[in-house]
Symmetry: C2
Subunit: 97 residues, 2 copies
């Protein structure tokens, strides 16, 4: 076992699939990763509905990063996720007009 | 190097953070993973707006899995992602009433 207490061979959860992009360097991408680690994991599929006529504010951001503490609403947590990972995800903005 | 051509020490992209849940077994979670591998990666942050008064259909699903071929709309690709990974993500449904 390594310092992490893991066997050194890759587990299915962290298999990597290295591939070469056209002209740039090696890209290592994790395959088969869940994108929602925490939210409503007892639900088979997390689907939310918004009746748009009931929106109260002119602009309401909805989360697409699965890191919000106020999911399905966006609470800005995508910023921390993007910084930590180099990702570029952001919310869906619902506008009343 | 391993068979994957990677050095055996974990790279930042695939670090794992094993932790014990209260009473159940070991949970190994990949940390620092991007959730959007493909969509509009030249944009610093992918934000989309919907003017809800302009929605044409009674029900419009918007993607939150970052796998849709018609992003920001949902095309059902979350089903394949969930099957492949054991995840439970799904769309945001915008309803006109
Ligand atoms: S908190 Fe998830 S998109 Fe903003
Ligand atoms: S295709 Fe992404 S949520 Fe349906």
């Amino acid at each position: 076992p390594t310092a992490l207490g893991l066997s050194p061979k890759p587990s299915p959860a962290i298999c990597v699939n290295p591939r070469r992009r056209r002209s740039s360097g090696l890209v290592v991408r994790a395959e088969g990763q869940t994108i929602n680690p925490e939210i409503r994991k007892t639900e088979e599929k997390v689907v939310d509905s918004v009746v748009v006529t009931e929106l109260s504010k002119p602009l309401t951001p909805y989360c697409r990063c699965w890191r919000s503490g106020t999911f399905p609403l966006c609470d800005g947590s995508h910023v921390k996720h993007n910084k930590a990972t180099g990702d570029n995800v952001g919310p869906l903005l619902l506008k009343k007009q």
